[in-house]
Amino acid sequence: MEILLQQLINGLVQGSIYALVALGYTMVYGIMGLINFAHGEVVMIGTLVTISVAGLLLKLGLPVALAGGAGLLAAVAVCMALGWGLERIAYRPLRNAPRLTPLITAIGMSIVLQNVAMLVWGRNYLTFPAIAPKAQFEFAGASFTAVQVMIVLVSALTMAGLLVLIYRTRLGMAMRATSQNPQVASLMGVNVNRVIAAAFVIGSALGAVAGVMVGSYYEIAHYQMGFMLGLKAFTAAVLGGIGNLAGAMAGGVLLGIIEALGAGYIGDLTGGFLGSHYQDIFAFIVLIGVLMFRPSGLFGEKTGDRA
């Protein structure tokens, strides 16, 4: 029983990380219908910037909380600038291009960012400075750490914050309008360029937060860490219904739990025929199943085909 509980905790935490990254995907997609494949790399840059800044401050003898906070702020600032730059350089010139073009550009930017990071931070694995509290808890035989609790809380709060932003603020209203029809929105006096840039900047800031969370959870970082993470988060976003904030959260958590349970029990269920290396297959079977019956994802709203 405590094993099941432990697996659920593992899945919940892993899923919250996916969700946090997936929010960034879904933000941009909801407004522009663009999948920003470079988002995983933004997360990676966030982690690496934190390592550099917090590591340096810790070396200078600053208290852990201060160094960690400064690291987080620096990461958020760098990633916001990066998100803005990406949109300005790679996507805005292609705003009216066919759908495939920005997608390819996104993959291109992802590769560029990976290689820039490799040149700046090197090929080696980096250890993430210990800026998160180390406390460990036991609950009904399952153990978890303070960082894990923090990850779950941060992603839930971030999602709530985003919902408030989208549905309760002027910027949010402009975003929703742009999402529905950019031309009409701009006729109504919405500065579409600024709204889209804002979506990128906010999404990237979330990416930075996700990066810090991932870093303090696994305590390692590498210039290619964003790729798989991005892919999984993208899957989570599709599972939940891409473009939908609550869907990204639900999809992420669901994917994490499916993976954990899959890895934990697939061997027993199939009598050892399939091992834990089939955990991804488990997750993708669920994804295919969901898409067959609810093509726009779990929370995706049905929309009619529009010319």
């Binding site: 697996q7 390819i104 090929r123 080696n124 694995y125 999402s179 390692i220 290619q224 891409i242 890895a263």
Partner: protein, 473 residues
Amino acid sequence: MRFVPLKLSLSALAVCSAFALTACGQKEEPKAAAPAAAPAPAAKPEITVKIGHAAPMTGPQAHLGKDNENGARLAIEDLNAKGLEIGGAKVKFELLGEDDQADPKQGTIVAQKLIDAKVNGVIGHLNSGTTIPASKLYADAGIPQISGSATNPKYTQQGFATAFRVMANDVQQGKALGEFASKQGVKTVAIVDDRTAYGQGLADEFRKSAEAAGLKVVASEYTNDKATDFKAILTKIKSTKADLVFYGGMDAQGGPMVKQMKELGIKARFLGGDGVCTPEFMKLGGDASEGNFCSLPGMPLEKLAKGPGFKEAFSKKFNAEIQLYAPYLYDAVMVMAEAMKRANSVEPAKYLPEVGKTKHDGVTALIEFDEKGDLKSGAISLYQYKGGKLDYVETLGGGAVATAKAEVKEAVAEVKEAAKAVGEAAKEVAKEGVKAGAEAVKAGAEAAKEGVKSGAEAVKGAADAAKAAVDKK
């Protein structure tokens, strides 16, 4: 917010994943400049020997790939500084580096690229998973290949005359690790591997050896060589209460794994092979790595005659710590160059037979190959992670010790046999001697008898003569 119609989102998904995969498969390749051999001046001919090198230069094992390349590069520079002459021409060695991304598919692509570039020999690849498929291409092209790090036994078992390795293989390593685990008083083990040719091969050999030593394998779990989260499989292992977790894989996964074991409150110890026996592992594993064990083929560098010198030259040249295989790569290049020198040719077909006859006193070991291209003296050393350093524990199992033991046994048996034979012979000789003696005595007696007889006869004769004479008178 708006949601794009379903057809679009689905096709976008399909397209994205397709692109994601291609993006994964084909990253930029470091441009390998391959200038053709410089036009030889009439007076002093100079030839350029191209040595191909392949290892992951990007991806999670990029740090090990760079380490390998540095090892090979140091050897090439030493050779050029020495100024070898082969076949009356001055030889300039040149390293053609390729990035195989630790991916078997990419491994064959870069192998073909190196073959097309007409390299004289290949050093590498790093991973067994890339080395094995690539070795077929090199064998078909007749290009000698020496790997300094591919430890899966299959590599040299395919029967290719071109495949060599300067490191003990995983049969030896898995065996030593299994024996070591049982010596540590471990009763139950959980085995995790990363499903690569290396990880799986090592884990299988460990399993055989552990089971032979009477250990019980209570869990077999799997991950991959890009994973960072192992909590799900570790939770399952926790429920089996194994004494030891064995990991067949590399440091980039092993380090976080040992850390997550601690976070989950798993008391089991951790054991791994050469892939996790690195400074990187301890950096990634932190405190959790402390006190656990790993193994490396060969002997520790500090204990070898040329080890400390190499270490110093390496850190001076690259301003970096040796990660793992650099010394082996250095030796691999040296072995190849020496074979060329002995054959007095840089033609692959001509110097290939010489590679098999190598007897090179290298940095890592005295390198001699068996008929398959494996290292003859493959000892395995065990280390403990202690205070951020690899602490040498002992050298175990391994080919060298086993062969030496077998040789001693044989010798003893031979001596015994010989002693027995000597004894037998002595007995025989003694018997024979006695017999001969008796015969001699008998003969002597006979002779004496005869003599006496003849003497008597003579005396008789004389008496007769005397009698006759007296009668005449």
